[in-house]
């Protein structure tokens, strides 16, 4: 990571901030921390310990913002990533947890971070992971969709599209002229 000169002064206070962060993170034993660079941390934590970690970070290290929750479908389990940001330490912490594939259920962190409600609802609609305790668990985006969760790897969109919709022969004049002159559509 290249830092130009006038940033030199701020370099050390980042260092001191990360030291404070290290002490906090070491209090929980079941973590393994990997520091990507001095502004980005990756923390792997067990599924049960995540709420504790979030409240710890929010309370002690000023992590007031839960930027997003993303979900990865590993076909045998789900991975949920909680991206946290603090305006004091200016270090992005992404907490990764793994939950079982069936039944796809996890506890909601709505009471710690209220924006979590929106992210959890999206994940519920797109991946089918139900978050207990969240007040926003109805359909919001896919109200017209009654099929399986569409973002899952198990859902074959191409097959669905071919069964559900049909195509139309699109033979506009300009295409006919090109074909008359020997050109063809490269499929």
């Amino acid at each position: 990571m290249v830092w130009d000169q006038d940033k030199e002064a701020t370099k050390d206070n980042y260092a001191s901030q990360t030291i404070v962060l290290d002490q906090i993170l070491h209090e929980l034993d079941t973590l393994n921390i990997e520091q990507k660079n001095n502004q980005r941390f990756r923390v792997d934590v067990s599924a049960e310990a995540l709420p504790a970690l979030l409240s710890l970070l929010k309370g002690r290290a000023g992590y007031t913002q839960l930027s997003a929750i993303s979900c990865v479908d590993w076909e045998d389990e789900f991975e949920l990533v909680y991206h946290l940001w603090s305006y004091e330490t200016k270090v992005l912490v992404s907490a990764h947890i793994r939950i079982q594939y069936t039944p796809a259920v996890y506890v909601s962190v709505y009471d710690i971070y209220t924006p979590a409600g929106f992210f959890e609802r999206d994940i519920y609609e797109m991946y089918g992971v139900y978050f207990e305790g969240s007040p926003m668990m109805e359909k919001f985006i896919l109200t017209e969709w009654h099929g399986p969760a569409p973002m899952l790897k198990s859902f074959d969109t191409l097959k669905y599209v071919n069964d559900m919709f049909n195509w139309q022969e699109y033979q506009p004049d300009w295409l006919k002229e090109i074909q008359a002159k020997g050109g063809k559509v490269v499929s």
Partner: protein
């Protein structure tokens, strides 16, 4: 909805109405009204997708639609042309159909951008409708992943020529072959799909009630309407409650 027994017709040939069966005055009035219809078109200011960004430049000083007599209008009641610009997600398609049925004939639909032709770059998405002409009678397509304003204007001019010649009456197909369109719509939205406008009633009122207006799809709709007696005022409320009960997990 009067109690109409749906008759099964499978002959698909459409009865050709010969042009000169009308008398001279009727013909003179028709040609004059087509002349006026071609010269004054009101475009519905309703952007369904990404292509709508091409319309403001077409209206403002560089290309100026108004010199062709085309004006943007705000509500479907006042508009003649419905521009479907860009991809049509299933959710938007419901609103597009509602808006189309609120428009007054003779009305024209122009599919701008190739997403309305065969799905465009969203062709493999589960959430977009691929072929627009299955759900609405489309007069003209303007291909291009957002065609430039010149293309939009040439498309509109070609439509004006069609109107002047009196050939742009695809809107009557919506009434004449309503069963086909309703079938495709029910295929997407489920069998309880219906809009506040009563199409079969309007088809009879405007004498556009062809053989194909009713079929087994409309039979399902009529059965559903009679069952829930939708003509009552509180029908939308009862329907909404039954929908939310069914929707709950």
């Amino acid at each position: 909805m009067k109690d109409v027994i749906p008759i099964q017709t499978n002959n698909t040939e459409t009865i050709a109405v010969s042009k000169n069966s009308k008398n001279i005055y009727q013909q003179a009035i028709d040609t004059f009204s087509n002349f006026c219809r071609a010269r004054s078109l009101f475009v519905l200011h309703y952007c369904t997708g990404c292509g709508a960004i091409e319309l403001p430049p077409a209206m403002t000083s560089r290309f100026d639609m108004e010199r062709l007599g085309i004006q943007p209008m705000v509500t479907p009641r006042q508009a003649d042309i419905l521009l479907i610009t860009g991809y049509v997600s299933i959710k938007t398609l419901k609103r597009v159909i509602l808006t189309y049925e609120q428009m007054q004939g003779p009305k024209y639909v122009i599919g701008i951008c190739s997403c309305t032709v065969n799905g465009g770059m969203y062709w493999q998405s589960y959430a977009t409708a691929k072929v627009l002409s299955e759900y609405l009678p489309v007069d003209m397509y303007i291909a291009g992943c957002m065609p430039r304003p010149e293309a939009v204007l040439t498309g509109l001019q070609q439509l004006m020529k069609k109107i002047e010649k009196g050939e742009a009456n695809s809107w009557e197909n919506y009434f004449k072959r309503y069963d086909y369109y309703l079938g495709n719509q029910q295929h997407l939205f489920g069998d309880t799909w219906h809009t506040p406008t009563d199409i079969l009633e309007e088809a009879r009122h405007y004498h556009l009630y062809g053989a194909e207006s009713t079929g087994n799809n409309t039979a399902r709709l009529i059965k559903y309407t009679v069952e829930h007696d939708l003509t009552k005022l509180d029908a939308p409320l009862r329907e909404k409650d039954s929908m939310t009960k069914r929707g709950k997990k």
